[in-house]
Symmetry: C2
Subunit: 201 residues, 2 copies
C-alpha cells in the first residue's frame, strides 16, 4: 500500500509536467522540480521510484513520458464522470473551473434541492432535482461525487450517493461524513489550508 | 525542521478536536482519531509526539488541552488578518465561508480589479480597488493573502502582495507563482484533489 501523502503529490507532479509541456520543455531534473514546487528533490525521486525507473542519468525525467505514466497510475487515462450536489456559490465556481480544465475528472451531472435552481444551465449542464440523483448515478455508472451543500444537509446527501453506488466523495461541507468501508471521503477546507500556511509565518 | 506533510495534518486534527468539543467529548484515543479521520493511529501518535507528550496512558488525549496546544503550535492563538484579491464566484464563496468559521485566520480586506465590483458588500467587508491594496496591507501589517483572480492576472497580483510585505499566499489560480525566498505559496486546486481521489477508485 502506497502512503496517501505520496498519492496526493502525484497530481501535483502531473499538473507541473503539463505546465512544462505547454512551454515545450522536454526534460526536467528533480532539482528543478523541487525548486519550482517547493518540495525536496530527494522526496520527488523517492516518490517516483515507487512506480518505476523514469529518470535518465544526467538528464532528469522525460516530461511527456512521465506525465503519461502518472496519468495511468492515477487512472486518468479514461474519463472519470463526477456528479456535484449543491449548486450554490461554491458549487457553481467549481463547476465552471472544471469545464476549463483538461482533466479526465469531468463533472457530468449537477443536482440541487432548491426548486429555484432546477433547470439553471452551467455550461452544457442543467441542474437536476434530487429525485433524479440515484437513477442518474446508476445509469451512468458514476463512482465519484462532490458535495457542496450546507453542513446540515451533507450527511443525508452522502447517504444517497453511497446508496446509489458512489465510492469516492470530495466533501466541502464542514462536517465529518460517516461512510461504510469501501467508500473514500476526502475533505477540502480552505480554513485548514490557511491554518497550515499560518505555521510558516 | 518538521516535514510539511506533518504540518498539514495539524489543522485537520484541530478541526476534528473542535468538532469533538462541540459534542462535549473530553478524551479521545489515537485509535478513534485514526478511524474517524481515515488515518493510521500510529502516524497520529508520531505526529503529536514531535510537539510534546500529550497522551494519558490508557485514556488517550485530553481533547481541549490538545486543541489549545495545536492552536499555539500553528500560531492561531492570535488573529491572523488576511486579504483576498479577486472577489468573483470563488472569492465570494470563500469570503462567506470564512465569516462563519471561528478560526483565527480572518479575511479583513477584499480587493478587485473590476470597477463594477468596488463597493460591493460581503458581510461587514466592502470590496476595495487595487490602488488601495499596498497601503491597506502595510497599514494593517497583513502577512497572508488569498489569490482568486484569473490565471493571467495572478502573477502581477502576487508581485504586488509580496512588494507590500505579504509572506504567505494561498493561491487558487491555476498557475505556478514565482516568489522570492522567504515567501511561501500554497496552491489549492480541486482538480488535484479529484485526481488524488481517482487513484482509490
Ligand atoms: N471547504 C471550503 O473551503 C468551503 C468554502 C466555501 C464554502 N464551503 C461550504 O460549502 C457549502 C456550500 O457553500 P456555498 O457558499 O456554495 O453555499 P450556498 O448556500 O450558496 O449553496 C448551497 C447549495 O446547496 C443546496 N442545498 C441545500 N440543501 C440541499 C439538499 N438537502 N440537497 C441538495 N441540495 C441542497 C442549496 O439549494 C444551494 O444551492 C457549505 O457547506 C459551505 O460551508 C466550504
Ligand atoms: N483552484 C480551484 O480549485 C479553483 C476553483 C474554481 C476557480 N478557480 C480559479 O480561481 C480564479 C477565480 O475563479 P472565479 O470562478 O471566481 O472567476 P471570476 O471571474 O468569477 O472572478 C475573478 C475575479 O477576479 C477579478 N480580477 C480579474 N483580474 C484582476 C486583477 N488584475 N486584479 C484584481 N482582480 C482581478 C475579476 O474582476 C473577478 O471579480 C480563476 O483563476 C479560476 O481558474 C480555482
Amino acid at each position: 500500500r502506497i502512503p496517501d501523502v505520496v498519492i496526493r503529490r502525484l497530481p501535483v507532479y502531473l499538473r507541473y509536467l503539463q505546465q512544462l509541456m505547454s512551454y515545450d520543455v522536454d526534460t526536467v531534473s528533480s532539482q528543478q522540480m523541487g525548486h519550482d514546487l517547493n518540495l525536496n528533490p530527494a522526496q520527488i525521486r523517492k516518490d517516483l521510484s515507487i512506480f518505476g525507473d523514469f529518470g535518465v542519468k544526467g538528464m532528469g525525467y522525460r516530461v511527456s513520458e512521465l506525465a503519461d505514466k502518472l496519468s495511468k497510475i492515477l487512472g486518468l487515462d479514461k474519463e472519470i464522470p463526477i456528479v456535484l450536489v449543491g449548486v450554490g456559490n461554491l458549487g457553481a465556481a467549481l463547476c465552471r473551473y472544471n469545464r476549463y480544465q483538461k482533466s479526465a475528472t469531468k463533472i457530468v451531472g449537477l443536482f440541487d434541492g432548491h426548486p429555484a435552481k432546477i433547470g439553471q444551465v452551467h455550461g452544457s449542464l442543467e441542474v437536476r432535482p434530487m429525485e433524479e440523483l440515484v437513477d442518474f448515478v446508476r445509469q451512468n455508472n458514476i463512482k465519484m461525487a462532490i458535495i457542496t451543500v450546507p453542513a446540515a444537509a451533507a450527511q443525508s446527501v452522502c447517504d444517497a450517493l453511497v446508496a446509489a453506488g458512489v465510492k469516492a466523495i470530495l466533501n466541502f461541507a464542514p462536517v465529518l461524513l460517516n461512510v461504510p468501508e469501501g467508500v473514500r471521503v476526502q475533505n477540502s477546507d480552505v480554513t485548514v489550508e490557511l491554518q497550515a500556511l499560518a505555521y510558516y509565518l
